[in-house]
């Protein structure tokens, strides 16, 4: 993505690791598997990594906590409980706390998964658009054409901003699918880089900044909508883009 051979080698190197670690989604996993199968050097590298992973797992199983340490830790948190005999009330409270904690953690874990799978769904959309004939369903640099095009296709039209003077010309828009709901995506350019901006009418957790498979991802919340900006543009310029996009008109 960086354009240089070194950059490409590095990023495909990371993808091989991510593939063997089960961190890629199906689409990217299939793509990297095909490259491993067709490139002997890559296949060898993958075999080495896999062998290392296996030998480490086999040689270092999780050890139980040594008894002397277990006793020390128990003393720590039970310090003032030595003279204490549990009442039914206290035991019930402890059970309730545990239940509350376990249900909270389930909820948060699920939410975490959802939020990262949202990002990977959107990244899929972005990747599809890069390999498609054109990155947009409606190709226009005129925001007065793009905004009405979304009417009737998605629940809420996104904010369409003209940023061409800042060097981010509008290319058009398309519909992506997020959690089985159609959501609007705007496409901007920066030199030869494509930036996808998706707005979804749901409030995800706080802002994130991430780099996934060589793409930079920014997410923020504004006006009750969640926004994602995805691009292989460098992080600094993507941040600059997001800042301009978010500025009030």
């Amino acid at each position: 993505m960086a354009g240089s051979t070194d950059g490409n080698r590095d990023s495909s190197d990371l993808l091989v690791h991510a593939y063997l670690d089960g961190e890629l989604d199906v689409a990217n996993g299939v793509a990297i598997k095909q490259r491993i199968d067709s490139d002997p050097a890559m296949a060898k590298q993958a075999a080495d990594i896999q062998a290392l992973k296996e030998v480490l797992r086999a040689n270092f199983p999780t050890e139980a906590l040594p008894p002397h340490l277990k006793a020390r830790v128990d003393r720590l948190h039970r310090k003032s409980l030595n003279a204490y005999r549990p009442t039914w009330g206290a035991m019930a409270a402890a059970v309730l706390v545990t239940l509350a904690l376990s249900s909270t953690s389930t909820w948060i874990v699920q939410k975490g998964i959802t939020s990262s799978s949202q990002t990977s769904e959107l990244l899929d959309g972005h990747l599809r658009s890069l390999v498609a004939q054109q990155a947009t369903d409606v190709a226009s640099s005129d925001r007065h054409t793009v905004k009405p095009w979304f009417n009737g296709k998605v629940a809420q039209s996104p904010r369409v901003k003209d940023l061409s003077e800042a060097g981010f010309p509008l290319v058009g828009g398309r519909i992506d699918v997020l959690n089985r709901v159609a959501v609007p995506t705007l496409v901007y350019n920066r030199r030869r880089h494509v930036i996808s901006v998706t707005a979804a009418p749901m409030v995800a957790a706080g802002p994130i900044e991430d780099a996934i498979h060589g793409f930079n991802v920014l997410r923020w919340v504004a006006d009750g909508m969640s926004y994602w900006a995805i691009s292989d543009l460098n992080a600094a310029e993507l941040r600059e883009f997001a800042r301009l996009y978010r500025e009030p008109p």
């Binding site: 190197d13 030998v55 797992r57 948190h77």
Partner: protein
């Protein structure tokens, strides 16, 4: 909300206890010494207990491992057993040298996979212990403790992309050293 000792103890049992073995494993790898690991674990438990009211239950394992990591770093720097130069403090050139280590002239490692599969625990332990702290923790958290990239990012406080590059470099160095040892 001020929790009394019983409630704190109940939370400790629910949130910390299930991950103590994981916590101890990480402490051992970071300190490279069982006595130090004992101290780090105990100190980390005190910190966890003090912070237990703020802990919501979201990914308690990553939370505890992050406490272990911070405690270990503090412990080691206090003991001056490790020159704690953060990779972020190094110049580009030094960074490249640290990261490449012995593998500098061999960017594409290419030993037979069987050679790696034959490595024994002692040999692996030594090679992992020799890795710079940042690489070691990435490798241990992923390949020995089985955490996902996002969890490792949470524990070590760096972006996922950084986790990925540290992990790949750590593995590359171990693979390269195994090959060297055999040559």
């Amino acid at each position: 909300m001020q929790l009394d000792q019983n409630a704190k103890s109940a939370r400790f049992i629910a949130l910390v206890q299930p991950y103590l073995a994981d916590a101890y494993t990480l402490a051992r790898w970071l300190t490279r010494n069982r006595d130090d690991a004992d101290e780090v674990l105990q100190e980390a438990c005190i910190r966890a207990l003090a912070a237990i009211e703020q802990q919501t239950g979201a990914n308690a394992r990553a939370w505890l491992l992050a406490i272990i990591r911070n405690t270990a770093y503090t412990w080691l720097s206090a003991k001056k057993r490790l020159r704690l130069v953060g990779l972020d403090d190094l110049s580009e050139r030094d960074l490249a040298r640290v990261e490449e280590g012995g593998a500098q002239d061999a960017p594409i490692v290419d030993p037979e996979a069987e050679l790696i599969a034959r490595a024994n625990a002692k040999q692996l332990e030594r090679l992992i212990s020799e890795l710079p702290m940042e690489f070691r923790e990435a490798l241990v958290l992923r390949d020995i403790q089985g955490l996902g990239y996002h969890e490792i990012a949470e524990v070590t406080g760096v972006p996922v992309g950084t986790v990925m590059s540290r992990l790949s470099r750590a593995r590359r160095r171990v693979i390269y050293s195994l090959k060297e040892a055999d040559a």
